[in-house]
């Protein structure tokens, strides 16, 4: 079930009403309802993979308890590694097996050895990277005695499968979400309104911004040979807004939906395109994944303790793994490495924590220096997204080669883009609202909070835009991860 489908907008009110009117007497009923609804939500995509999700939940639940009951370190270690190997094994088989088999076959054929590896013809279970990471963080935290194993199966299962975060995050932590699931929840009017507002903004980002930009980006990325360098720059820009609108829009809907049920999820985006350097960008983009890698990979690898060389090595590892997490394709790996290169100067010269504050806090406009920094960081990001979007490394290189041709200085071919002017106006509107709301958790959280009428008019405009200006429906990009 997609967040931007009618089915979801039938499903959500039903679950919401049952949750607050029928099961509100007892927490166990509420959590039971959340679990059943979450399984139903997942089964709507493909019921067969529900068993895989259930198996993953059961595995980590049991290994968690076994680790808690372990009488000695080796026994604890055994259950820990069992969970890690099975979890990573599933991810490896479903997500990476074909990639490794094909890459090995290609490498061997390059040295003259012809091989025919058996490849799997399975579809990637939606959300597998997300729920596997939920489970992994849980068992790692138990192993390092940060949390106690959860005894209540329903509570644990809701933690992993809570439908707003099930298929594309944010990647939650047991320390943050489980206590909320175990605590009695009372309906909070302000929280519910806030949730609806965030859903509204998320929908706008997804169906108006991302889907319209996707249509334009696809035109240029599918046939780069036909277009001038300047047109291809435009294509990369549209993809940059597509991926932000798509993923942060999804996260907004997820966070808003969870809030309707009295649950606060981890923030996933904090206006990353207003970052002044790449380190800041990565503190603001897909925050739940970046912090997951920091806590469960960077710090265990030694973090920043071992001096510059160790910081450099660990940063490269993090970005390499992060790229690979996104998908079984060399393009994602190059994208990760490119970002590692971008961030490297700030790691070496220890300037990566220079921009911790919100840009131009308390001011309407940024300073010239801030503006130029934002523009430069944005440019680097746009360039890296070319690898992320391209089908292959050679396609990305070809795209870049065509950008840096004589035609870069000609006018872009906008004739092929229907309603180009409308989409550009929408983007300007979108960027302005995001800029004005950058000090909040999401852009329209406190918009026009002093005037009810202006605020309501704004909501109606957003809804009308969603109804009238919806782009051709595209699947959420992060579903494939």
């Amino acid at each position: 079930m997609l967040f931007n489908s009618i089915n979801f907008f039938i499903f959500l009110p039903i679950v919401f009403l049952l949750y607050w009117f029928v099961t509100n007497k007892k927490l166990v009923f509420q959590n039971g309802l959340l679990l059943v609804s979450s399984f139903f939500f997942y089964a709507c995509w493909d019921w067969r993979f529900l068993f895989l999700l259930m198996f993953s939940i059961l595995l980590d639940y049991i290994t968690g308890i076994k680790m808690g009951e372990a009488k000695n370190k080796p026994e604890k270690k055994f259950w820990f590694w069992l969970s890690i190997i099975v979890n990573v094994g599933f991810l490896g088989v479903f997500k990476y097996y074909n990639f490794f088999a094909e890459s090995l076959a290609e490498s061997l054929s390059a040295i003259g050895l012809q091989t025919n590896f058996w490849t799997l013809k399975v579809i990637l279970p939606v959300g597998i990277s997300f729920y596997t990471f939920h489970g992994l963080s849980y068992v790692i935290d138990i192993y390092y005695d940060k949390i106690k194993p959860e005894k209540n199966f329903i509570d644990y299962a809701v933690f992993v499968s809570f439908f707003p975060l099930l298929v594309a995050g944010p990647i939650e932590r047991a320390t943050h979400l489980l206590p909320q699931i175990k605590k009695e929840r009372k309906f909070d009017y302000d929280q519910a309104v806030n949730g609806l507002r965030q859903i509204l903004w998320g929908l706008f980002k997804k169906v108006v911004i991302a889907d319209n930009c996707a249509h334009f980006a696809n035109i240029f990325f599918e046939n780069p040979a036909q277009y001038s360098g300047s047109s291809l720059v435009l294509g990369a820009l549209f993809f940059t807004f597509q991926i932000y609108g798509d993923f942060s829009g999804y996260s907004d809907i997820a966070l808003g939906t969870a809030r309707l049920f009295g649950i606060d999820l981890l923030r996933n985006f904090a206006f990353p395109y207003f970052s002044r350097d790449i380190a800041e960008f990565w503190r603001r983009w897909h925050i739940s994944l970046s912090s997951w890698f920091k806590d469960y990979l960077y710090i265990p690898l030694g973090g920043s303790k071992g001096g510059t060389w160790m910081r450099v090595r660990n940063t490269f590892i993090i970005f390499l793994v992060s790229g690979f997490w996104h998908g079984a394709n060399w393009t994602f790996i190059v994208w990760g490495l490119l970002n590692a290169l971008y961030i490297m100067p700030s790691i070496i010269f220890n300037t990566h924590r220079n921009n911790m504050e919100i840009v131009a806090k308390g001011r309407v406009f940024p300073s010239v220096k801030e503006f130029l920094s934002i523009l430069f960081t944005f440019g680097l990001t746009v360039f890296a997204w070319i690898f992320f979007r391209a089908e292959s490394i050679s396609a990305a290189l070809d795209y870049i080669k065509r950008i840096f041709s004589k035609t870069l200085f000609t006018l872009p071919n906008i004739k092929v883009l229907a309603d180009f002017e409308i989409i550009v106006c929408l983007l300007i509107f979108f960027i302005s609202i995001e800029w004005l709301g950058r000090e909040n958790r999401y852009a329209i959280e406190k918009i026009f909070s002093k005037s009810k009428w202006i605020r309501y008019s704004f909501y109606y405009i957003i809804i009308l835009a969603i109804i009238i200006l919806t782009g051709k429906s595209q699947e959420f990009i992060y579903f494939q991860f």
Binding site: I6, Y189, Q226, V416
Partner: protein
Amino acid sequence: MKKFLIKLFIFLSPFILVSIFFEIYLRTVNTHYKEKINGLYKNKDKVEVLILGNSHANYGINPAYISMESYNMAMVNQPLLHDYLILEKVINSLPNLKKAIISIDYHTLYFSDDGIRNNWVYYDYGIDTNIEYATKLSRFWLGYTPKVAFSMLKYDIKRSIYNLKNEKPTLNFKAENGVSFTDTIHNGWLGYTGTNPKKFNDNVVKSRADVFNQNITRKDERVKNLKVFKSMLELLKKKNIKTYVITMPCHPKFRAMIDENVRQKDIFEIEKIIKDYNAVYIDFFDNINQQKLYYDCDHLNKQGAVIFSNLLNISIQ
């Protein structure tokens, strides 16, 4: 909680009202589809030639220039499956049907799922291609989508205002861009007016051809469509109806941008299949070259339709 629900209801009430209005409006409004099917049933005892196909045939074959009583049931983006289901639905209601013309163009065998138009043929023709139950219920949100629904209402308002000031009749349904507002539909046919020079720009023609060139990579669709094609021929043979399978003309600029090998391979396949049936294949692909006879690179305009329909008329005698 109560406060939340009441406020939410008040906030959403304009949208609820708009939804109700459009659900009713879209059930009563006239459409190109309704006009075609109603026209066919009105002429059911007279129709001798039935024309099926996509927009190429829809705009390019004017029944007025076919010497036998003809009816054009082709439609924009109409896949072979819809052609077959229409034929299956209406064939028993057409006692005098002697000939059928099926247009199979460069991309026809590779094109089947037509998204939104599956809903429209369900609503207006009663043809169910397994559309979702929710779509059957909500015409505004799913069947037509708000964007299309608003454009239909806008057209109706524009038409009503025009009718207040003028006596000239207007189309009482929203047609595609390029069709004149004051035209009339005749035996299912409506033509494009004039030539749109922008549509002959190299990039535009290339983009158009690319859509088709992309379609022809769908090999699974070809298998499915050939099956449907055989079923159509089977049905027509059973009713002893002579079938003419044709390829509609396209402008030379467009022709130069498509894969001729694929086209020839498909013609070979079609000719092989029709041998077992009471059918003939005629290739008109490169029969008309003048730009002034086309609206865009692959659609004839009214003038082109006259020339082509005369040509077709001679060929099917």
